[in-house]
């Protein structure tokens, strides 16, 4: 089954005063119709830029974009501005992190929803557009929609604002929704409401969702497939269960071991990833993660890892230069509570590798 969206070797660079920022460095992804892809990464991972580039929102004088992003076979990267505008807000929609700053403060919510509708339905009259807007507000669970249409964004609470943003994004029934950290700025009980809403709407509208977030908990709740990004590259991707139960990349291990989880023992130690995210201007050579990887070998500084299937399962891929067997033994040790140093000593040294 052909995916709805196929991203192929996407690269995005920004020219800045301090140098060239390599925000996205060869990302390939696929999203199936009606499914949710979770893209997880920290700041500087390139996850947001990927989503923005698919929408064409990074086009500009200082940006160099290459690669393809095919929606139904049509490449969005090389599409003309005009054609892309027909796709944006229509076939693909995007919602953002902070709904207060993402809605225009001087226009009523109704006006902004109507604008979203009329941009892609130019012949729609005022009455029809308002009705559609009210319908959307009801769909997202905002009570008393008719009067809410005439309210301003600052008159809504945080959760309702995000619902209004979602209503605006879905007003033209897009086939793909890109959600960029939609709940990060919300309280946890409101976050639960919004995530449940997105799930429900996805099922009702048969929509695909790309959920971009740093929160592994949100990924576990919502995603069918997961892509883990680091320093502009995808380091691992696969079905959710595979990523959480049998991860193959040291960065994924590091993420999973460094967050406290309600389902893990209370005093299970947090194992941080040493160091900090790299500069996107002067990136480490070879594997971008190597300066922070406890299992690094000399070759990793030179060679770029490529995404390769794990154990013959084409659905689960990882970009790591360690041998598969080595990785699985390392994860086995880590999962039973060993610290990275211990795992390295147990697994790597017997293999005769001198750790640098």
């Amino acid at each position: 089954m052909t995916p709805l969206l196929e991203i192929d070797d996407l690269r995005v660079e920004f020219a800045t005063e301090d140098g060239v920022v390599h925000a996205v460095d060869g990302v390939s992804l696929a999203v199936e119709e009606g499914k949710t892809l979770g893209v997880v990464g920290e700041s500087g991972s390139g996850k947001s830029v990927t989503g923005l580039t698919v929408m064409g929102l990074t086009r500009g004088r200082s940006a160099t974009i290459s690669g393809q992003a095919r929606l139904d076979g049509n490449d969005l990267i090389t599409m003309s501005d005009r054609d892309l505008r027909g796709v944006r807000g229509n076939d693909i929609a995007m919602i953002f992190q902070d709904p207060l700053s993402s809605l225009h403060p001087f226009y009523t919510v109704g006006k902004q929803l109507v604008e979203a509708y009329q941009t892609h339905n130019p012949r729609a009259g005022k009455g029809e557009s308002r009705d559609r807007a009210a319908e959307m507000l009801t769909l997202v669970g905002i009570p008393d929609p008719a009067s809410r249409l005439d309210s301003y964004p600052h008159e809504f609470s945080g959760g309702m604002r995000q619902r209004a943003m979602i209503a605006m994004a879905l007003i033209n029934e897009p086939r793909l929704l890109i959600a960029d950290e939609p709940t990060t700025a919300l309280d946890v009980t409101v976050q639960a409401q919004i995530l449940e809403l997105i799930q429900r709407l996805q099922a009702d509208l048969r929509m695909a969702v790309i959920m971009v977030t740093h929160d592994l908990g949100v990924i576990a709740e919502l995603a069918d497939d997961v892509a883990v990004m680091y320093a502009g590259r995808i380091v691992e991707r696969g079905p959710k269960r595979a990523i959480f139960d049998a991860p193959e990349h040291p960065y994924t291990w590091g993420l999973l071991r460094s967050i406290p989880r309600l389902t893990a023992p209370r005093d299970e130690p947090l194992v941080p990833i040493p160091g900090r995210p790299p500069s996107l201007i002067n990136r480490p050579g070879g594997c971008h993660f190597h300066p922070r990887c406890p299992y690094v070998r000399p070759a990793h500084r030179e060679t770029d890892p490529r995404l390769v299937p794990v154990g013959g399962d084409a659905g689960h891929q990882v970009a790591c230069l360690l041998a598969e067997e080595t990785r699985q033994r390392l994860w086995g040790e880590l999962r039973s509570g060993a610290l990275p140093e211990q795992a390295r000593a147990d697994v790597l040294e017997p293999e005769g590798e001198v750790t640098p």
Binding site: G158, G159, T189, G217, A220, P260, L262, R266, P272, R276
Partner: protein, 340 residues
């Protein structure tokens, strides 16, 4: 006489809402903290959790006398410090310190890191010997994981995680007895959060610190704290040892909070019926009568509107302010299978 290092009784903090051009008159108030009874024992880590507007940050600041209480009593080591002023208050500051949430705005960008960490000594007139301060500051930098040679660098030259370490170094400089950490890792990347959390734990163990840990991330609070107080709209709704709170929460709000937390576990996801609260948090300038949570509580009855429940012991060991606490069956349905 209690065994609490810092204790507040019936603490109230209202922020007046005023109107008027020259002569201001009060037309209302934001009931940020409305009758809080809380205590921190020597050596423990108390977690203070709640959502926006619950008053946890205000409570902490009033406890530390950074804000004046509207009414109520604050005791530190048994001494009533509610109205302390002047030299005694300044001396108290050596014993209570605060770590802030935002590492980007809580450090003076015009001061070098060295002078930021040395400032507590300057304020309290300590270590006046030649080079003594610098030596001590560098020792502190090393202790928190910073390179002492960066003594003369400016905050903007450091990453978020490093800046937070600077804040920690400043807080422990005078070897306080109590540290209040107000959302110390919320603004940091996930892989850095663990570094700072571990640092705080190590310091607490080595220095015998008492820690008040304010956060909205329940998983982090569970990991860091041995006792937790849950706040809603200005009052404490439940307080219990961590083990108890996370396995047998009795207040419906605590239940809803735990139910709402997304867990990074592919098996736990979808294994429970989430308790999703309806509606939004009421405004703290106009809180609901009696039990403040009754407007959103799935178990609310008419009595909840009339009779304010007090914090009383419940099954399992927690203190909860509720007329209809959660039953074991309700808990099992809402909350993901927890490891204790």
């Amino acid at each position: 006489m209690s065994d609490y290092l810092l204790e507040v009784t019936d603490l109230v903090k209202h922020f007046p809402i005023t109107q008027g051009v020259i002569l201001q008159r009060q037309v209302g108030a934001v009931h940020a903290v409305d009758g809080v009874n809380l205590g921190v024992r020597q050596g423990e880590t108390l977690g203070l959790v709640g959502e926006t507007g619950c008053g946890k940050s205000t409570t902490a600041r009033v406890m530390m006398r950074l804000l004046d209480a509207t009414s109520g009593t604050i005791r530190f080591e048994g001494e009533d410090i509610t109205h302390t002023k002047g030299e005694r208050l300044k001396a108290l500051r050596r014993d209570m310190q605060l770590i802030f949430q935002d590492p980007y705005s809580s450090l003076n960008p015009r001061k070098t890191v060295g002078s930021i960490i040395a400032e507590p000594f300057a304020i309290h007139d300590l270590l006046k010997g030649k080079g003594e301060r610098k030596a001590k500051v560098q020792q502190l930098m090393d202790r928190v994981g910073l390179n002492p040679e960066h003594y003369n660098r400016y905050p903007h030259e450091f990453s978020g995680g490093q800046r937070q370490r600077i804040g920690v170094a400043r807080a422990i400089a005078l070897e306080p007895k109590l540290i209040v950490a107000d959302e110390p890792v919320s603004a940091l990347d996930v892989s850095i959060q663990a570094q700072v959390l571990n640092l705080l734990r190590d310091l607490q163990r080595d220095m015998g610190l008492t820690l008040v840990f304010i956060a909205h991330d329940l998983s982090v609070v569970r990991h860091m704290c041995n006792r937790v107080a849950v706040m809603y709209l200005g009052s404490v709704v439940e307080t219990a040892d961590s083990d108890v709170l996370y396995s047998q929460p009795r207040h419906p709000y605590t239940g809803a909070l735990l139910s709402a937390v997304p867990v990074a576990d592919a098996h736990a996801a979808g294994s429970r019926k989430r308790q999703i609260l309806q509606g939004d948090v009421p405004s703290p300038s106009n809180p609901p009568p009696a039990c403040r949570f009754h407007t959103r509580c799935p178990k609310a009855q008419p009595i909840c509107r009339e009779d304010t429940p007090a914090l009383t012991p419940k099954d399992g060991g927690s203190l909860a302010a509720c007329h209809f606490p959660l039953t074991d069956a309700e808990i099992a349905a809402q909350i993901p299978g927890l490891a204790v």
